[in-house]
């Protein structure tokens, strides 16, 4: 069990922003350099439009481990997956993969809309690395898992997106890989199917496979993974037991903040505390206080602070501002600090939520500073409810 399944050794990956080549004049020397100097030619330096998607990332995953990768959008999670699956090569550093790896970066990526469900199962299965015989043997199982028996001879372009995802996951779930890499697939399909997927993933894992799960759904990560890493702007900042790393992710700390150059006012701290003190794990219905401290650099007038709650898919769950709530604005002088306290009742469904705050002047539509997202929090519930709102349900059968 202690053999290595995957090892990343100081991996760097560089990307370019914007258009790749501006003109043919840039291309020809560019290509020549690539051909003759090799890929590591100037791997250390960044060009004008380049940025590091991954910087000095090293970790090791043992065989049979379940491993989570979390981080905000753009932290480099998908880049890791693409490197793992071999679609991309690292700019610098190396990585090893031992065993048959199946990467499910997008459910049903290999589907062709004009082909029927049956044809796509065969095509996708072969693309993902199964043999024809293997697919034939598992065909009935795959169809049954997807629950699409009736539509199996319908072209998939006539499928709903949920059906599409179900078929895609069903094929991938029957791969029997040594290493299964999954990116956000649990967010597709209906709830019953999501549960079915999670069960299937657990059973693949129990069968001895290594599981790598990428998500910003912290609940799913803590549910599925033993170990977890946290990425931020391409850097690995935490590596440890999933529960601890997700806790850390929810409390990024108030430490080193970037310089507030050029700002007239900035958010100097954001804290969340419950009635019984701080924390990031609350029960549904808890009362919390969101404290936003704003510091002025220049004189600012007619300011308002917004509290914004988003769910895991970054859909707005709740937003309001001091101006709307109090019908007044406030002003700040240079060096002056003011603290805004929102009292909120978390009538939210269980799951992870992201809190963002903004300092805004509405009449000029001017944004002074934002922390987006500032804090992540987790809501738990004793009753098995789903969705973003808690409607305090009671059921009677008469």
């Amino acid at each position: 069990m202690s053999e290595t399944a995957i090892a990343f050794n100081q991996v760097y990956k560089k990307f370019k922003k914007g258009e790749i080549y501006d003109s043919l004049r840039d291309l020809i020397p560019g290509l020549a350099k690539r051909l003759f100097v090799g890929r590591n030619g100037n791997a250390d330096s960044l060009g004008s439009k380049e940025f590091w998607s991954l910087r000095d990332v090293s970790f090791e995953i043992k065989k049979g481990e379940s491993f989570g990768i979390i981080g905000h959008n753009g932290a480099g999670k998908s880049t890791i997956l693409k490197l793992l699956s071999g679609i991309m090569k690292p700019t610098r550093g190396s990585l090893e993969v031992h065993g048959r790896l199946s990467a499910l970066i997008e459910v049903g990526a290999g589907f062709h809309p004009d082909l029927t469900g049956r044809e796509n199962i065969f095509l996708n299965g072969i693309i993902l690395g199964m043999s024809k015989g293997e697919i034939r043997r598992k065909f009935d199982e795959i169809v049954e898992f997807s629950g699409l028996e009736e539509f199996i001879d319908t072209p998939v372009k006539r499928y709903s997106s949920g059906m599409y995802a179900r078929l895609g996951f069903s094929v991938a779930a029957h791969l029997e890989p040594d290493i299964l890499v999954i990116d956000e697939v649990l967010s597709v399909g209906d709830l019953v199917f999501q549960k079915q997927c999670a069960e299937k993933m657990k059973s693949i894992f129990r069968g001895g496979a290594t599981l790598i799960f990428v998500s910003h759904n912290l609940r799913a990560v803590t549910d599925l993974c033993q170990r977890c890493i946290l990425l931020d702007h391409g850097k690995l900042i935490q590596d440890g037991p999933a529960v601890e790393v997700t806790q850390y992710y929810m409390n990024p700390g108030q430490g080193a903040k970037e310089a507030h150059v050029g700002k007239e006012a900035y958010i100097s701290s954001v804290t969340l505390r419950g009635e019984n003190g701080g924390g990031f794990l609350f029960d549904t219905g808890d009362k919390v206080f969101l404290e936003v401290e704003v510091t002025g650099i220049a004189s600012c007038e007619k300011l308002s602070v917004t509290a914004y709650f988003a769910d895991n898919d970054y859909n707005c769950v709740f937003a309001s501002s001091t101006q709307e709530l109090n019908k007044t604005t406030f002003s700040l002088g240079p060096g002056e600090k003011k603290k805004v306290i929102f009292e909120l009742n978390l009538h939210l469904g269980p799951g992870t939520y992201h809190v963002s705050t903004f300092v805004y002047r509405f009449d000029l539509q001017k944004l002074y500073d934002s922390q987006d997202p500032a804090i992540a929090l987790q809501i738990r519930s004793n009753t098995d409810i789903r969705g973003v709102a808690n409607l305090y349900p009671k059921a009677a059968i008469e």
Partner: protein, 262 residues
Amino acid sequence: MINEIRRLMEYRELIYAITWKDIRIKYKQSVMGVMWAIFMPALVVSAGVLVKFAFARLSGAPLGLSQVATVSVKAIPWSFFIASLRFGTNSLTMNVNLVTKIYFPNEIFPISAVLSQLFDFAIASGVLFVILVVAQVGWSIYLLWAPILLSVLILLAISSALLLSAANLFFRDVKYIVEVIVTFAIFFTPVFYEADFMGPVWKPIILLNPVAPILEGFNACIVLKKTPELAWVAYSAVIAVTLFLVSFRFFKTMEPAFAENI
């Protein structure tokens, strides 16, 4: 390189699957279906017959059935070749989803593109067979050259597809350039005429196009019942192998950059 080609062999099921997909999709939701595989070469053959007819009128000699056979024998492989170039060039960009989301050797796309055109070629060859029977061309031992010529043509098509598909991934200009070249190439290739017509000075120049000796060879071994000009066939074969080595190297060198640049 040997290892890469051996690895490709392990993926042959995938090559079949992608080829099959390309063929399926081409004829899905089309009324004429597989008839398209006959229709396009038939148009080229008709154009060729028309040109031959004009030549015949000029020279005063009647248009013989054997000339129709000659045009068909050249036009059908030619249609296969240009269709392979067209389809092969777009093969990577048409499969963006697979290139960026799932890893396997990407040369499978241009290779499958050529193979799916080979399927059309097989159907068109059935029609060619009928034309040859009607023209009373008959059998000969020289027919054994045909599979060799075809192999060289396929290798040429795959090599070009590898090079062009990778180039087109970085620059979409390539597909327009290919389109223009493919449209006019028929004038520079002995499809509607014979290289011999051009006289001793121009004939070698015409045959420098590596496809030309193959087409001439098909005519020689099928219709004229003689051995193709071996020196020229060898020339085409050398070009095909060299181009394959260069294209394959180029393709594999550029492959790691595909996903980011597509």
